[in-house]
């Protein structure tokens, strides 16, 4: 490689354009190419809130952020180094996320008077010509013109030609970052194999973009980002919702029970339904119910029938499931309730992320209705976390709530995927014949779990329901002592799970010290990066990330008591913080962000620094 090339240890690129500009595809291609080269990475798409907001406007901007590097990458990144702006709206919407001195790659055709007006720039103002971007490195390319030029002889129509614009940009970026084209070429071959002219056009434009970099070398530097020191193994890239679907299928295979999904579509959970619907050959049933209540009730029916039953939704839909979740808990049937959290309250910000449904998961039911709660910390982690949720549901005969969120659901990262053979099997408490002394539907084992007696087994005919039930027999009981006993028993059963889950570990730092940053769910990456940086700067800070929110790992209290200050960053007003304060009587403090967006590393670092220097 030429020696005027700079070696960087990480780069953040934001691809932004109109919904129709193909930025998601462009981003994914660059991502996969980076992955193949051994970079560590993390991505996050940024969809418009509307189905298709008007072309050229700010609400219509679709973005894709990629953070890749030769070092370990924990988040999609804070401020970006490079902003690809296919039109004026894309620039306007994203400029504030570009670091000072960062590079803008602007498609000049997207800054014509019409686009400028749609992006609501003042009359006569054009940011790419008026010098207002002097704090940045501006690379203006007339992508449309170039693309058309490359395809003059293709015989294709203008509309079709213009659709290849994103390949030009991709090609140019491949040049800039010294990437091979072969991954994308293969992809195009597969995708357009049956349409040779479209294929050829795309390949041509991709190369044209690359060559444009080569030939006009003056306008941009080239960079090298070397492979990252990742654990050896075979990797793939995966998004959170995808990993959730795979985790469910894997669990289904490993407990030997067919998977039943009862769901009603809702952003950002719907993709799990879409995904699972493709796995019918694994015996997966996806049932699109008439509403969320029907969805969870179908799950109760399927669980009664002896299957691995799951429902997926997001906040407003979960709210509707509260009553039936109580029934599931009372019946003591296994089921998994997945909440891919989004911005609330009410309809809120459907396409944005938030962690504000923790209280709902813990307390959002009538009566004393404890349900285990588990969360995932990253896109790939959805796999393990949902697998664990299934295990607990099945082994303890209980509903389990699994919390994901819009950030990890749509974000992606490399995943050293497991081998099927390495996944631990688990099995249901099935009872297949009448035990000596007679069958007692609510007789408990050492886990306090009851037997799973499914229709079809002779002699185990029995009735269950939502009224309070007598210990062991499960018959209706209005006895006051029995009620208290059973309420305590159901609580004890959930608490018992703590004996069957791993102890809390520290992600980073000493076991005793000044500051512990305690996180849950998708804040993992940002906290990890911030704590790493703080420790590198010599601050006394450790990091623990909770997966098991109910019950907590048995040693959590011990860990907390070893620190002077507990800092809990959350994308809500402080829900875990409340629970920790209540349970452990430690004056934990919150760092709260309620902007529909994940934390940046900087934000968390700043808070740590503030606390460390106090």
């Amino acid at each position: 490689m030429a020696d005027n090339q700079k070696v960087l240890d990480r780069v953040i690129i934001k691809f932004a354009g109109d919904s129709g500009d193909g930025m998601q595809l462009t981003g994914t291609q660059f991502t996969n190419t980076a992955a193949m080269l051994g970079n560590d990475l993390s991505t996050f798409p940024d969809f418009p809130a509307e189905i298709r907001a008007p072309q050229g406007t700010i609400p219509g901007v679709s973005g894709y952020q990629l953070h890749f590097g030769s070092v370990n990458i924990f988040t999609p990144g804070d401020e970006c180094d490079v902003l690809v702006a296919m039109n004026a709206a894309a620039l306007k919407a994203n400029l504030r996320h570009l670091r000072k001195g960062g590079t803008i790659i602007a498609n000049s055709d997207g800054f014509d008077p019409k686009n400028l007006r749609l992006a609501a720039y003042a009359d006569g103002v054009n940011p790419i010509t008026d010098g207002s971007l002097e704090n940045f490195r501006l690379i203006t390319i007339d992508v449309t013109k170039m693309t058309r030029a490359a395809l003059t002889e293709s015989g294709m129509g203008i509309k079709e030609i213009d659709r290849a614009k994103n390949m030009f940009v991709l090609g140019f970026l491949y040049w800039m970052y010294n990437r091979e084209l072969d991954y994308t070429e293969n992809f195009l071959n597969e995708k357009f194999g049956k349409k040779p002219d479209v294929l050829e056009a795309n390949l041509k434009v991709l190369k044209a973009g690359y060559n444009f970099g080569e030939t006009s070398e003056t306008i941009a530097d080239r960079y090298i980002v070397n492979p990252a020191p990742m654990a050896p193994g075979t990797y793939r890239n995966i998004m959170g919702n995808q990993a959730t679907a795979l985790g469910l299928i894997a669990a289904s295979q490993k407990c030997g029970l067919d998977l039943f999904l009862g769901s009603y579509p809702i952003t950002p959970a719907t993709d799990i339904l879409h995904d699972l619907a493709k796995y019918k050959h694994f015996g997966v049933t996806t049932y699109q119910a008439e509403d969320e209540i029907a969805a969870i009730c179908s799950v109760i029916g399927a669980a009664f029938g002896g299957k691995l039953a799951v429902t997926t939704s997001s906040g407003p839909g979960i709210a509707l499931k509260g009553e039936a979740m109580g029934l599931g808990m009372m019946l003591e049937l296994p089921m998994i309730i997945i909440n891919v959290q989004r911005g609330g309250p009410s309809t809120g910000l459907p396409t944005k992320t938030e962690q504000s449904d923790l209280f709902q998961a813990m307390y959002g039911r009538n009566g004393e209705a404890p349900i285990p709660v588990i969360c995932a910390t990253s896109p790939a982690d959805c796999f393990a976390a949902v697998y664990e949720s299934c295990r607990i549901a099945i082994e303890f005969m209980t509903p389990v709530i699994f919390l994901s969120d819009g950030y990890i659901a749509n974000g992606s990262e490399p995943w050293r995927y497991p081998q099927a053979a390495d996944l631990k099997e688990f099995k249901g408490n099935f009872i297949t014949e009448v035990p000596e002394g007679g069958f007692l539907p609510y007789k408990r084992d050492e886990k306090l779990s009851r037997p799973w007696a499914i229709p079809g087994v002779k002699g185990l005919e029995h009735r269950i329901g939502g009224l309070e039930k007598a210990h062991e027999t499960g018959n209706i009981s209005y006895d006051p002592e029995n009620h208290e006993f059973m309420v305590r028993m159901r609580e004890a059963k959930v608490n018992k799970i703590a004996d069957y889950i791993p102890l809390q570990t520290l992600d980073n730092g000493a076991e005793k010290g000044k500051i512990l940053v305690l996180g849950w769910g998708s804040t993992h990456g940002a906290i990890k990066a911030a704590v790493k940086e703080a420790r590198e700067k010599g601050m006394d800070v450790s990091h623990a990330q909770i997966r098991h929110l109910n019950p907590f790992p048995k040693n959590l209290g011990e860990i907390l008591y070893n620190f002077d200050t507990i800092l809990i960053p959350e994308m809500n007003t402080g829900q875990l913080c409340s629970i920790i304060r209540d349970k452990f009587m430690v004056p934990a403090i919150g760092l709260n962000k309620i902007k529909g967006m994940p934390f940046s590393t900087t934000e968390i670092f700043a808070k740590i620094e503030e606390l460390a220097t106090k």
């Binding site: 193994g233 694994f282 049933t285 009730c297 179908s298 029938g305 269950i464 329901g465």
Partner: protein
């Protein structure tokens, strides 16, 4: 529910073996007792092993039913039984699933699941005990209570126009729609058998007397003095005849049902409306015998029997077909999906 095919020997059990150890706790005189008895009489004859039978209910007096049936059962939450049976039938199509519900349970809070169950046509039997009242909560009007009904929540009389459950079920694309009553054990047993025999969602409305909060709501249909004049039993391919001496018939003038006196000159049973369960339009007219009578129209008897019965594929069959097809086309290889389309190796 359609018949299953297990060997006859396996299935033998008696009505008594359907009685549970739980004390039946309906008010003395409640119509639910009779329905329970008829169900317990009919079920052993259906040729299904007891362990393959499931009764699922919502909440209400009627929904206590599963506790009294020595089969698998679930007393769920108010209005949701239809959704629960749907899920169960998806995964266990071989079971004989019976849903028991009330007019409040299925037509008020559970209305949505009710209509969706009917359109999807899961092969289950839905017994709706219609007492035109909320029994368990002690007497509020229900979606089937007639206008003007004075109840605890309507001291000046109800102003809600009621549902016509049969018409609603037809409108929701139900494939089997029938009506019977608690006080006609013979007819009720017949209808239970027919419901079981139908492949698809069998909707059986059962008029049930709540003698505590709505006593006598159906008295004219059950009282000896009025029953014959006020009810008509509809049977496939039979003319519509009723009356104390089977002396009245119904024929259609255009779309208008009119009563004819079979004793009068020139009227013959041959001219009467012949019941055809396959005819959706006629089923619609039958369903409207009692509401919306046009001015000057005849006062018609209430029909009991199968209004409509049609074949249509069941959801669970489509589901099974798709899963089998998918399985036949593609191997379920967990490693391959974990791996995905593209991978790379490090180290």
């Amino acid at each position: 529910m359609s018949a299953t095919t297990t060997s006859a020997e396996d299935k033998k059990f008696t009505s008594k073996e359907l009685v549970t150890d739980q004390e039946v706790r309906w008010c003395p005189g409640c119509g639910d007792y009779s329905i329970l008895k008829q169900v317990q009489t009919v079920v052993p004859d259906l040729g299904i092993p007891r362990e393959d039978i499931v009764f699922i209910s919502g909440i209400g007096c009627s929904s206590r039913f599963p506790y009294y049936m020595e089969t698998y059962g679930m007393h769920s939450i108010h209005g949701r039984a239809a959704a629960i049976v749907s899920g169960l039938k998806c995964v266990r199509p071989e079971l004989s699933i019976w849903m028991v519900s009330g007019d409040g349970d299925s037509l008020s809070i559970g209305g949505n699941h009710f209509i969706h169950l009917l359109r999807r046509n899961f092969d289950i039997n839905l017994l709706l005990f219609n007492n035109e009242i909320y029994g368990l909560t002690k007497g509020q009007y229900s979606p089937t209570s007639h206008e003007g009904k004075v109840t605890k929540s309507t001291p000046m009389g109800s102003i809600d126009h009621p549902f016509n459950p049969i018409a609603l079920a037809l409108g929701a694309n139900g494939t089997f729609v029938a009506r019977s009553m608690d006080r006609d054990p013979v007819h009720l047993k017949e209808m239970l058998k027919r419901s079981h025999g139908h492949k698809g969602t069998s909707f059986l409305e059962i008029y049930q007397n709540c003698n505590v909060f709505n006593d006598g709501a159906f008295e004219i249909f059950t009282d000896k003095g009025t029953k014959k004049a006020e009810t008509i039993i509809i049977e496939q391919d039979k003319p519509l005849i009723f009356g104390h001496n089977a002396d009245k018939g119904i024929k259609l003038e255009g779309f208008k049902p009119v009563i004819v006196d079979l004793n009068a000159n020139g009227n013959s049973a041959n001219d009467l409306w012949i019941h055809d369960e396959k005819d959706l339009t006629k089923a619609g007219i039958l369903s409207r015998f009692f509401d919306r009578p046009e001015d000057g129209a005849d006062h018609l008897p209430r029909p009991f029997g199968v209004f409509y019965s049609a074949d249509r594929s069941c959801y669970e069959d489509g589901l099974k077909d798709q899963i089998e097809l998918a399985k036949s086309k593609k191997k379920a290889d967990l490693d391959s999906i974990l791996k995905g389309r593209e991978t790379w190796v490090i180290g």
